[in-house]
């Protein structure tokens, strides 16, 4: 049975489950041989609310001399490996088979007022919100100033409903900021991106998180992928065939986390496939490493996302 996304609407309010196969390939080719490298990957999805992981495989070439998997503080699966023989090229392929459940991101039944939630988050022990309290604080890549806070307030001051205000903010960022791959780089700060009014998914996600945290709300950073081929009749979303990132807002004990994509101005639905979860980009950066030698390395990344009904 093919449960594709024909039922999805733009707000992702309701849809049936979709099964995906994702292939993420990262290749380094070095101008001089590398004698030794050690790397860390955060590319393996996990089963979590709304996501069911069936299988995931990490293939590394050349074959690592040692490889370990551990779970990090945020519950992400981390692969650490070392290659100790001389090599000119490093290829990492991660292939995952997973289902995005239809229940994902259904509109929460209760929609608390955001001000009540902020008050609860200020006393996380009493409110029983210890697990999410830390997502209200600045993190290594995310802080804010008064300007960012006033920008956020424009969505929240007149709207009591948390979900509506947050989606409004998502859509304003989508409208007010230009998608521009040349405007920013991997180290661009939130404040800079806010000044530039431009950036890529990482900047938009971090900006919305900064906005939400500036109000005292809890927000996190999600790395992931987008469906490559649009459903019939839909246009292809920005960021397909690439890694993607968005933000997630805590809506209270009942509603849990709600994912929002400011790059596309929408609630995250069936098209979004999450991998890792953290406070900002630094917590989930998909691959990092240290190599001895290597000269001037050339990097190529490709992501292939396909619906995978044949496996049913």
């Amino acid at each position: 049975m093919n449960l594709s996304s024909e039922n999805t609407n733009d707000q992702g309010e309701y849809s049936a489950s979709t099964r995906y196969r994702v292939l993420h390939r990262t290749a380094y080719s070095y101008s001089t041989p590398v004698a030794m490298c050690q790397n860390q990957l955060k590319m393996t999805p996990r089963s979590r609310m709304g996501v069911e992981l069936h299988a995931s495989e990490v293939r590394i070439s050349p074959c690592p001399d040692s490889s370990r998997i551990h779970t990090d503080y945020f519950g992400n699966e981390v692969t650490t490996f070392a290659i100790e023989a001389l090599h000119d090229e490093l290829v990492v392929e991660v292939e995952s088979d997973l289902t995005i459940l239809g229940s994902r991101n259904a509109q929460p039944e209760s929609d608390p007022s955001w001000e009540e939630l902020v008050a609860d988050l200020k006393t996380p022990v009493r409110a029983g919100m210890l697990e999410v309290g830390e997502f209200t604080y600045p993190s290594p890549r995310i802080d804010w100033n008064d300007e960012i806070r006033s920008y956020a307030l424009a969505s929240f001051s007149t709207e009591a409903s948390l979900a509506k205000a947050a989606l409004d903010l998502t859509q304003r960022i989508f409208r007010d900021f230009k998608y521009d791959t040349t405007a920013t780089h991997v180290g661009t700060s939130v404040r800079e991106a806010f000044q530039l009014k431009a950036g890529v998914c990482q900047d938009f996600a971090q900006l919305q998180i900064a906005c939400l945290r500036s109000l005292g709300l809890a927000a996190s950073y999600v790395s992931g992928y987008l469906r490559t081929m649009p459903p019939p009749g839909k246009t292809k979303l920005i960021g397909a065939d690439e890694s993607h990132a968005w933000c997630s807002i805590y809506t209270g004990k009942q509603g849990g986390w709600l994912d929002l994509d400011p790059t596309n101005g929408c609630i995250v639905g069936q098209d979004h496939i999450p991998i890792c979860f953290g406070r900002d980009y630094l917590d989930v950066s998909p691959m990092c490493g240290v190599a001895v030698g290597g000269g001037d390395p050339r990097l190529s990344i490709s992501v292939d996302v396909s619906e995978n009904p044949s496996l049913y």
Partner: protein
Amino acid sequence: MDAKSPLSLTTYPISSEQFDACLSNTQDIRPGWAPLNEWVKSVGASGLSACEKQLQRLIRDNGATFTVEEDQEQQVRPWKLAPLPMVIDADAWTPLERGLQQRTRLLEAVLSDLLGDQTLIRDGVVPPDLLWANPAFARDFVGLPVATDSQDRRQRLEITGTDLTRTSRGQWLVVGDRTRAPSGLGYLLENRITTSQVHSQLVRQCNVRRVARFFLKLRSRLQDLAPRMRGNPRIALLTPGPKSYRYFEDAYLARYLGFTLVQGSDLAVRGERLNLKTLGGLLPVEVLWRHVSDRKCDPLELDPTSREGVTGLLRTVRDQSVSIVNAIGSELAQMPALAPFLPAAAKHFWGEELDLPNAETYWCGNEQKLSHVLANFEEFLLRDAFVVDRESPIDVRALPLDQQAYWRARLSENPQSFVAQRREQGWTTPVWEGEQVTTWNVSLRTFQVAAGEDVDVLPGGLARVGPTQDCLLGSPVSGHLTVDCWIADDCPTSGAITLLPAPDAAIEPQRGGDDLPSRVAEHLFWLGRYLERSEAIARLLRTTLKCLVGEEFELGQSSLPRLTAALASIGQLPPDCVIEGLGEAYPSLESMLPASVFSKDQPGSLQQALRSMVYNASAVRDRLSIDGYRILRQTAEELNSPPPVSGGVLGPALERLNQLITDLLAFSGLTSESMTRTYGWRFLQLGRRIERTHQTVELLSASLVPVSEPERLICEAVLESTDSVMTYHARYMNLVRPQLVLDLLVCDDTNPRSILYQLKRIDDAISRLPRAPAPASAGPDEDQESSRLLIEHLGQVNLDALDAAMNGRREALSQLLQFIGSGLPDLSDAIAAQFFFHTNPSQALTGASGDEFVI
């Protein structure tokens, strides 16, 4: 005080507002101080001054006040050692000791809770902000396995320090905790060893508790944490390096405890283990006592810019193949914001009161505390709530009003990032200063080593003193003097303990030296080269200067052009100094040559060679004997002393050169007589021999390749600057012939100054080096091939042909010297490629480049 009244510890003035370690409010001497007072009375002012000088000398001889750069203001050893120790009698010490033991256990419990179940936060004992707003709380700290000892006890804090002060009534107060890698232990040890030498009798009379037992405990504790080979594990002390203020004490501690002193570049994670990179290959490290900060331990998972740590270290921690002391993440337990919550934490865990109170400290993240602090602003010192750094705290009272307003605003804006600590009066101890006994403020740091519930407090501590309380507030190296702190018992302490005999476990005799880190080998190699270069330049300069002042001045002149050419060819003089005729050049030479002895600007000059020599020596100071290091330190001191005011005077320059040559020879003698013939010695030798060959080649090329009569004086100058005058005259009396000089300096393999002798020693040293698998870049035995080739070539030399001259040049000699000269760099490079390959730079791969990761 009347100058004539006898010196005593009971007569100096004390403040009624401060506790004094020696005198009570009624000027009565406190328990434990009586023997010291008797001593002061008996030796008087001259005795104290003499004692002060003796301490200075001993400390200097340990190489503690060593600086490489003259403009480097910060001394490597931060303080002088005071002649008067500070005494605390056992009755006053025991309750403090108990309090410190409890506090150490508490910090361990708190840290383990914060990185584990967080009951302190769940039960509202500690506000969650202390973690969540804390930029030092790297999430990677959570979930790391904890080192386990032989009794299966898990523990993060093995070695801790506590900073203490006393109230006017003598109550001890804690002003700060050090749980990451407390500094000062090495200086404390040096203080004790030094004062014990000077005050051996007093130490007995006062029944001073020995500190050696503490270090024994520390060593056995670290051994007990080894995941394998607990009997005799390899323990490494990871130091931030020679530029750090800790380097001296790290080297001192490593030598005393028998640990291997390493820097990040000496270590490598390979095959799922932490290893020491040595000439003999990789040797596993079982326990790493790290003195680098938590975030700098692993560039892969923590701070990617760190050069002090080891890539992949966290991986080995997760595999539990190495124990890190203290555990990565232990930095959290020393955050200043934690202190106000410790009394409640003690109740929370054990229902106990905290025995040892904190100095009054508030975390400003609490609204009530913040308003209290702002209402009494001038009484407080402001500190970062989360991180202990080397900055002084903000002393509000000392600020101008506009600055006070600024800090008020900062505090109100971001209160959770600050703690406010009430400014304490501090306490005092007597010091000998300015020819009299006076009292100075004191700051005491104690040290604890913990094994589960069992906590040992070092009897004593590192005491720093200064004339005001303010000057002690800053970094761990602030203060004017350091004072040895004695814990005095009523009766003699039992049994002497030393770290020298090994514990009961049998240790196999070792001969090899395979475990020489590659970095150390490299520094020894370059130490050898610069040592030899310095000596060669100094000798040639001395010979040249003598030509200017000698009896045979007229004759001496004829040698000058060739000697200056030689000096220019080795870099001591600028190349344009090479002059054909003497004439007008003489006056400038007379001033230029002596000036060049002191000049620091000319690249390749004597001063630069000496500087590089000292640099390489200081990088391997734990490998050199105290005596050897003392000689090099003296050389460095002379290097840093200013040149004589009148630059053109020959006398002082000659004097300086004479002293320098004596020092360098002393060091050479020491290495040949005292260093074991291990790999370290061979690298030093290789460096020396290669450099000496190079210097001789340059000298002969400049002096004896061109022929100009009369040659007697130039031959004598060459013999003198190669230290071969005696040998030559013993063989040939006063018959000076270039051919015989060449034989002695090139082909005579019994002359330790000849080129052939150097090459044979090089060949010999290379053949005894380990044959570790080298990377592809260095062919096998490439180095030995180079040396063999050179020796073979020398074996075929015909002396007559060498001496033969045509058109004023000895062409055959020139060609031979060129051949050798051009072979040397290859030889040096081959050795570097074979043994120093670890210095290859590494780079970070972000998985993201340029506009990567877009969308």
